[in-house]
């Protein structure tokens, strides 16, 4: 089955599933999967910190990196994923040219991600972040393959 992740959202899946998200821009695209249990998920988080709008974060934690990442991990564990086997890959967080504060969101999203992973003792297996690219991500849960295009 093909799942599409909208902005500020996440989807998890199992063997046979593909999870896609379009036009990440400065948003963080994070995948977490367990290659043995063949379960995984994809998060598309827009903003770094939930404290900027706690009400929104409560209604939908996936809008923010600091609340969305733990939610993604939790859902993957709920499907049978094991922390010791978890493979985590980051993409998105682009840094378009410009002086506007808006353009720095990608960098902040990435910084908050690294802090949360450090707290949770998790390393990134790969990262494809930054630059001006507006990435689209396709994650094959059966194989763990991640294809990033822009």
């Amino acid at each position: 089955m093909k799942h599409i992740v909208l902005v500020g959202n996440m989807k998890v899946g199992k063997e046979g599933d593909t999870i896609v998200t379009y036009a990440l821009g400065t948003s963080l695209g994070l995948i977490a999967y367990d290659p043995v249990a063949k379960v995984g998920g994809l998060l598309h988080a827009m903003l770094p910190l939930s404290k900027s709008d706690p009400k929104k974060a409560e209604a939908n934690p996936c809008i923010f990196v600091d609340t969305g990442v733990p939610r993604l991990l939790e859902e993957v564990y709920n499907l049978g994923g094991e922390k010791s086997r978890l493979v985590v890959k980051a993409t998105g967080c682009s840094r378009p040219e410009g002086d506007n504060e808006m353009f720095k969101i990608g960098e902040k999203n990435y910084a908050v991600l690294k802090k949360i992973l450090w707290k949770n003792n998790i390393l990134l297996e790969t990262e494809d972040v930054g630059g001006a690219a507006n990435r689209t991500v396709q994650f094959n849960v059966s194989t763990g393959e991640l294809s990033v295009t822009s």
Binding site: S84, K114, W118, N121, I122, L123, L124, E127
Partner: protein
Amino acid sequence: MAINILIVDDSAVMRAMILKSLRMTGLDIGETYQAGNGQEGLEALNDNWVDMVIVDINMPVMNGEEMIGQMRENPATADIPIVVISTEGSEARLERLREKGAAFIHKPFTPETIRDTMRTMLHLEEND
């Protein structure tokens, strides 16, 4: 096989961060030892079986470069793989350390850099 690691840095916070990063790598880490300067580092090498040394450069009493020099002169420690983690910017000094076979990681480091360096070093060991 589990690898025993000696971490030498004058900052206890830095030693804790390096240790945490090592634990995050998923590599088979055995005993870990810590020292606050090069002199203590050499003593720790004398007292323990160590498979890899992670060492800072700028430290009181004895700096990392001197410790590495003494390690290389002692047959018991001459072949132990060394990773230097430092803010050091002097290309000449880095070149001298590379000549002594040390890998280099710049501070501030990410845990991923430590993992990747460890992977490379352990892989090289396997192929020896």
